[in-house]
Symmetry: C2
Subunit: 82 residues, 2 copies
């Protein structure tokens, strides 16, 4: 079985309002060493053997990510076809 | 500047309803090679130099994760104190 880990983040030019709120909350808890917070999604897919990176990229473009405002990174492990 | 990447996932015993919905959606798009989907959060923290793993763990326990139903993984880079 192959496994893909997909990390989805807002593009750097898009305002991360959730991250700004979390940063303020961390400061109010006394964690003053936090300079910035970027929120994102992490999706783990368990895949049949033989599913390759190009198919996972298609899943990201068609459903998992919003390519207008988000970037995605794919990490394949356990015998997936790169 | 140090950087921490935190991945937060539901504990394996907790039902991942969002993942089940995404799996069904991927199948309906024709991606039949998807066996299972696990949804999670990815948080990137930019930190002042000197902030260590124990402090990031405290942030996770106090605010970022729900330790009752979620596990978290911390990956420190760029000169953070392990």
């Amino acid at each position: 079985m192959a496994r893909a880990r997909i990390t989805i983040r807002l593009k750097p030019t898009v305002l991360d309002t959730q991250g700004a709120v979390v940063k303020t909350a961390l400061h109010s808890l006394g964690f003053d060493g936090v300079l910035d917070v970027h929120m994102g999604k992490s999706i783990q897919l368990d895949l049949e053997a033989g599913v390759g990176r190009s198919e996972v990229e298609a899943m990201c473009r068609q459903l998992l990510a919003n390519p207008v405002i988000e970037d995605f990174e794919i990490e394949l492990t356990d015998g997936a076809n790169a």
